[in-house]
């Protein structure tokens, strides 16, 4: 090994964080927000008493969970332009950038995982609460919105955050559609300057520090939330 070149990291660190990390973090946050909303809806569908609804949601979740994320990224990367064209009535596939393609992919993919978490959360609420709320004359949406979901969400916050850390790491896979996320930006510098050892070690270190700190925080949060109930 011909000496570790710290200079290449110093030269590119601003670019890595301004372009790459911004992409990664924005993608993570948007997919988290979209994934939790869509995942909660899926969880409500899976628990619905109307069977076809439960079946459709179950099939969606199982499909997403049986296929590799890389394949899902490819699917959406090619599929989204066609769906977009169909939605706005164009004849030819529309152009969708890597970023929006990734946001849609990760929202749809992570929704399946968030769904299972929210389902466990909803099922952790005592049935008597639902019965009581219906007896008080609240309808399904009021029961869900005011009674079940706030508690389910609160119980599941640590698990939802843990899943988000996994999502944060998974977003690095957008490398396969040549997006400039944190890893993609580092890969570009690495290949341009032929400094693969330095760049990839640095990327690993940054991911480690962020994920480790985040999971440490989640663990301490778990301790604090657990006593409330």
């Amino acid at each position: 090994m011909s000496g570790f070149d710290f200079d290449v990291i110093q030269r590119s660190v601003w670019y890595l964080f301004r372009d790459g990390m911004t992409f990664t973090v924005t993608l993570t946050l948007m997919a988290m927000a979209g994934g939790i909303v869509f995942g909660t809806l899926l969880a409500m569908m899976r628990l619905a008493s109307f069977q076809p609804l439960a079946w459709v949601a179950g099939a969606y979740v199982n499909l997403m969970r049986s296929v590799p994320l890389v394949l899902v990224i490819f699917w959406f990367f090619f599929l989204v332009p066609y769906i977009g064209a169909w939605v706005i009535g164009e004849k030819t596939p529309i152009k969708v950038g890597a970023f929006w393609s990734a946001v849609i992919t990760f929202t749809m993919f992570e929704a399946a995982y968030y769904c299972e978490i929210m389902r466990a959360g909803i099922q952790s609420i005592a049935r008597g609460q639902v019965a009581a709320s219906l007896a008080l004359g609240l309808n399904y949406w009021q029961t869900m919105g005011h009674i079940v979901l706030p508690q389910a969400f609160r119980n599941m916050v640590p698990v939802l955050l843990t899943q988000t850390i996994i999502l944060f790491q998974d977003t690095s896979l957008v490398y396969v559609i040549s997006a400039t996320d944190f890893l993609g930006a580092a890969a570009k510098v690495a290949n341009r300057d032929y400094r693969l050892v330095e760049m990839y070690s640095f990327v690993a270190l940054v991911y480690f520090v962020i994920s480790f700190a985040a999971s440490y925080y989640v663990r301490s949060l778990q301790g604090r939330i657990a006593v409330v109930r």
Partner: protein, 250 residues
């Protein structure tokens, strides 16, 4: 949707001359399974040891094992792939590094992919092992000690046989994860199932047929794994313990 479907493409010859596209994908499945199975052996071996060590009363060993788990859990899989493929040969002594770099394809990507996936998954297995051991009533370990078994014997004859059975369902999902995760190896040039689906799409321009076929093959593989593990679970079940099917079926 304005797309020319052509399912017949699956039976047409692929440009590499190895047969039809369908055969090309099935060989990809073979590489996926070969990668996943070899990595699974590594993952089980290291995971069992590390997971067990984390429950022992040996303070420094517990700390070391925890550090191992944290390192490999907090770095994304694709970054770990790059570390094994691009970085490791440069950091190793020149002779060994050159040998790694000069391995003929596909072994040049297969070996780093297996090592990477094996160690990545070992951390998850270790977590399951630790959780499994800690879910056992503490009395079992104490009973072993009271009977005069050493720490090693208690683990070997009392704790681990129980834990292995408790762990089967979570291990099933880890095994399915390793099959799915092996697709990341396409980034270091291994032509496994997803990589071949992408190559097929590039050769033939039939994007959705390629990915649909790969998806179907993955679903089928999952089904086989689930059924196989269910049969295994039934076979090694401890009589009297509640299992997924046990309660309802009997």
């Amino acid at each position: 949707m304005n797309y020319n479907w052509n399912w017949g493409i699956l039976l047409q010859a692929e440009p590499g001359g190895s047969g039809s596209y369908l055969q090309y994908l099935v060989v990809g499945l073979g590489w996926t399974l070969a990668t996943a199975l070899a990595a699974w052996v590594i993952a089980l071996a290291i995971g069992l040891v590390v997971g067990t060590l984390r429950t022992t009363p040996l303070k420094w060993i517990v700390r070391l094992s925890n550090a191992y788990v944290e390192v490999f859990r907090n770095v994304p899989l694709i970054v770990q792939m790059f570390l094994w493929f691009f970085v490791l040969p440069e950091v190793l002594p020149t002779g060994l590094g050159d040998w790694m770099k000069q391995m003929p394809p596909p072994w040049g990507s297969y070996v780093p992919a297996v090592l990477c996936l094996g160690i990545y998954t070992s951390v998850r297995v270790a977590e399951q092992v630790r959780a499994g051991i800690q879910s056992l009533p503490r009395g079992q370990g104490m009973a072993g000690t009271a009977l005069g078994l050493s720490l090693l014997q208690t683990y070997r004859y009392v704790i681990l046989p129980m834990v292995m059975r408790i762990m089967l369902p979570p291990l099933t999902s880890e095994f399915m994860n390793i099959i799915k995760n092996s697709s990341v190896a396409l980034t270091i040039g291994l032509l496994e199932l997803t990589g071949r689906a992408r190559a097929m799409q590039e050769f033939s321009f039939q994007v959705f047929e390629a990915f649909a076929a790969a998806t179907a093959i993955y679903l089928l593989t999952n089904l086989v794994v689930v059924l196989g593990m269910r049969a295994l679970e039934r076979k090694v079940r401890v009589p009297g313990l509640i299992t997924a099917q046990g309660a309802g079926a009997q």
